[in-house]
Assembly symmetry: C2
Homo-oligomer: 584 residues x 2
């Protein structure tokens, strides 16, 4: 007897159908949704790579829960700090926070850290479809594991400029066996103790230490990793059907590592970068730096009786961390059939020619917003490694950022003196600075000054790389801007000169929120200071930021309204609120 | 040519002398001093026992600097939190804080934790000479190494009721190689991961792991520890002259361990306990529980060509931690001459008869304040180990303390509803409770209620021990009361009954701030609720407090004046301060 022959069930089904129609009608009438999340942040025992450690998780998950929304939705995250003695705050990486600069989630800049036992509601609009993520932005809590994905789909009825049959999401990170607490102390020591290379690369929080899925192709006696099981570190398999097109969303929340991702035997077509559409670019592999995100399309046009590697490799630093691996599993091939050939080999770690070429090929999709033709102000930021009182620091134009205990947003908004350095940090560095050698005088100073930008002006930022303390060394730095996307006008080698301006791409530069500056090179960015607030602009390498590698921009703060008091209940803004009541 | 023949120098000397006389005149005229301290709390690399770890230190020292003051002085500690993401707060253990309940330094009770980057000034009077210490009182920061000594000498012109020629100070603690952060997570896990026994016992922050100063007397192949050097873990030697009398101040800041201290071949005369004089008691060794302090006198009447052991041993738990050892060095014997016989052997760890006998022999010095003859209220506190939703907790009368995010002092003072449980916790437990066996129903609940005490009334507290979750197990618990000393009226075995009252010592019970309750036994305390404020009363074993083993007393809070707003700038009191300004 058929299921739907039962008259009660039939009626129930009709009611259900009616409700669905009604509900989707209401939804499409309203157009957008409020999406509410209740999160508890706490430490938990976890084995990201088979070795158990203390990991910062959300609602018992690592990485934290994925947020999925549609463009135009409002996200409400009610975050309760369940840590025992630590504050916490979460940054929504890539979300511009128009009108809600207090919800950017950066301690000391947009808000106070949330105290243990307290709850803070971040409320913000996700105005633009794209692949984003979120992460801790206090101390080195990102390195402690506080991150997760934030996926914004196009608004109801809208279409992406490309098509696909299915979708996967990969959040990449790197993992150390030393706690983030200890890393912080190590980095702040004199002499510095550098964090070194990560033990493991993680794909969606999963990696395997001291073994390899590709053991059979290794010359060493490395053992074979576990492929399946309920283990927290078992790789997440990507199950596909033949002859389909899939979208792969990729974001990098690494603490340090620059990565290269490849799918064995499959080409990828890059279609999105940092929440902006780009000209379709077909590649064999993809460079991705900390703070960046991409969408690529790939077609399952290979022999379906095999499985294929998905590999993540270190670039930009001499790799001492094994590849992160998982499996692209073709239906109906069994998962356990490992690919018959070795995993893809990434371009050599120090082939910066390759890296630059890749970056330069990321261009805006036709019809994307174009940059203003001229800039109103140009800020040239030289990054150098320095010693301050014997402590190893990073400095920008000779100033190493020390975050104040009062959030800039509040101290600027309420004009609180002494909350931060009123010395204006310099717009450029000495013309004679030799970027190819260690600084002749490598002393610099601590500072907390702000680049005050005139509202709605066009700002160029030239990131200028240089030699570190050690001769013949220059690091890669992926710089991330809060509150804005910028156009990447170009990358160049050596010291930037006014003549380099001629090489700027003003035709179809990509809009991004993160851009890398290569060793001994420069990177030119342009953005419009159109978002009232105080915004971090910093190297997204967590230890580099910890060592002072960042600046603060602020614009139109006087227009900012309705900052929740709770966001400012620390430092001098707290004092300000309380002085009014100091008569109890 | 003699030094003082120079007329200029002579004049300078006279002026100097005159200044000294003047200065001491001013001082004695004023009588008391303000003593100012500027402290930075930060993590640092340190080797308390030869194994390097991250330790919480003050001004680069571990243990923190010793405070020395005279009775009547006012201490000002300007504490800056230099931790990266953690709050911090310091409790002045044994100082009653008359008139300054907001300076007691207990997170969630007397004040908010001090945020990173912020400074808080604790200002309080040390009204009574004695041996005290200070320590972190937030999360398990005491276990992380945040402690130091606080010595209050008698006021200028006053005399101790005993004499001595020299003085030493020993702060005892226990040390784990697992970080306090990880211990917190372990204890909060389901199933619980117990912290286990400490790796090392520390004397003034110094111990040695995996070696022994008494190696030659050991049957095992343990190696000989280093005796001298600049190492952070080299034992602090006590240098004495023959035929003198020394005062040895001893305080225990252990996280877990109950200790026994002895000086080889030397008797000790106990003269002070927890900042109160006691009847001189001659002993061969001394039991000391976490939270307690003693002064003992010893005379250097032994063969001066030898050195002697000072030993610290675990009691009350089956010892898995080697003795802590240092040397009593007789002048002019060389330090490196180790004592020729083995270190003192402590009484058997589970000889509770011995422990009880020792505790019962500590009696108030004649002339000490006597307890009121009658009590106004009697609170019987049964401690049980329980499961709550599968989590292992300690509970008092079936309630496991969870500290709220708003300090009680503020929420009671300003009558803020919902800051804590308004359910009044019970004054006693069920009459039929069988303390000799695990609870038939071992479920209990979380709570944050307060015992509201009528001001200036006399309160009896009966601590009632019981069996833990595991059959045939009952732990030792040293209970510490903030804001008061109490009289220890007696210790008994089994379940307390009204008839036991006849055995109370009302004649010369010692005044203390910490008292132990022995396995399966009871301990009777009496105090006068004469100190307006909110006060913790809790087991001083750090993991036990973390697991909920404490209660909160409050009295006369309506009389409390001038709480610095900064002390209340968290939780709902923060909200209260800020709501007045929620219109920006």
């Amino acid at each position: 007897m058929g299921f739907l022959n039962d008259p009660c069930l039939r009626r129930a089904n009709l009611i259900f159908l009616y409700c669905c129609v009604l509900s989707s009608f209401i939804q499409s009438a309203v157009g957008v949704k409020s999406r509410h999340f209740k999160w508890d942040v706490e430490y938990m025992h976890w084995s990201p790579d088979g070795v158990e450690h203390i990991v910062m998780g959300i609602n018992g998950q690592f990485p934290g829960p994925t947020i999925r929304a549609r463009a135009g939705d409002t996200i409400h995250v009610e975050l309760t700090n369940k840590l025992h003695t630590e504050g916490v705050v979460i940054h929504w990486h890539g979300i511009r926070q128009f009108g809600t600069p207090w919800a950017d989630g950066t301690a000391s800049i947009s808000q106070c850290a949330i105290n243990p036992g307290e709850t803070f509601v971040s409320r913000f609009k996700v105005d633009k479809a794209g692949t984003y993520f979120y992460h801790g932005h206090y101390g080195m809590q990102r390195s402690a594991g506080l991150y997760g994905s934030l996926i914004v789909e196009v608004a109801e009825g809208e279409k992406e400029p490309f098509q696909y049959d299915g979708e996967f999401n990969l959040l990449l990170s790197d993992w150390w066996h030393k706690s983030a607490h200890e890393q912080e102390v190590d980095l702040s020591s004199q002499p510095i103790r550098w964090v070194g290379e990560p033990q493991t690369l993680l794909i969606n929080g999963r990696g395997q230490y001291n073994c390899s899925l590709a053991a059979r192709f290794s010359n060493s006696s490395v053992s074979l990793c576990k492929l399946r099981g309920n283990e927290q570190f078992a790789p997440q398999i990507l199950h596909v059907h033949p002859n389909k097109t899939y979208r792969l969303r990729i974001a990098s929340s690494t603490s340090l590592a620059s990565l290269n991702l490849a799918i064995g035997n499959h080409k990828m077509v890059v279609v999105e970068a940092d929440g902006n559409y780009v000209q379709p670019l077909t590649v064999d592999n993809l460079d991705i730096y900390s703070g960046e995100s991409y969408s690529v399309l790939f077609t399952t046009d290979q022999e379906p009786s095999k499985n294929y590697w998905i590999s993540v490799s270190v670039r930009g630093r001499e790799p001492r961390t094994p590849q992160g691996l998982t499996i692209l599993n073709y239906y109906p091939t069994t998962v356990s059939r490992l690919p018959p050939s070795p995993p893809p080999v990434a371009p050599r770690w120090d082939d910066y020619h390759y890296s630059r070429a890749f970056s330069n090929k990321i261009l805006a999709l036709e019809g994307s917003p174009k940059p203003p033709a001229k800039h109103d102000r140009r800020i040239i930021l030289l990054n150098t490694q320095n010693l301050i009182d014997g402590y190893t620091k990073w400095a920008i134009n000779n100033i190493s950022l020390v975050l104040p205990s009062t959030p800039y947003l509040g101290s600027i908004r309420y004009n609180i003196s002494k909350a931060f350095d009123r010395n204006i940090p310099p717009d450029h560095f000495g013309h004679d600075y030799d970027i190819m050698n260690p600084a002749p005088n490598n002393n610099s100073m601590y500072g907390s000054g702000v680049y005050m930008l005139n509202f709605n002006t066009t700002v160029d930022v030239i990131l200028q790389n240089a030699n570190m303390l050690k001769p013949n060394n220059s690091d890669i730095h992926p710089w991330h801007l809060h509150g804005h996307d910028f156009w990447v006008l170009g990358h160049g080698e050596g010291k930037f000169t006014e003549k380099d301006e001629e090489k700027f791409n003003l035709k179809n530069p990509p809009l991004r929120n993160t851009a890398v500056v290569f060793p001994y090179g420069w990177t030119a960015l342009r953005f419009v200071a159109d978002n009232p607030g105080a915004w971090a602009f910093h190297c997204h390498i967590e230890p580099h930021l910890h060592m002072g590698m960042g600046v603060v921009f602020a614009e139109g703060v006087e227009q900012v309204k309705k900052i929740p008091n709770q966001a400012l209940a620390c430092g001098l803004t707290k004092k300000m609120f309380m002085m009014k009541d100091e008569h109890n």
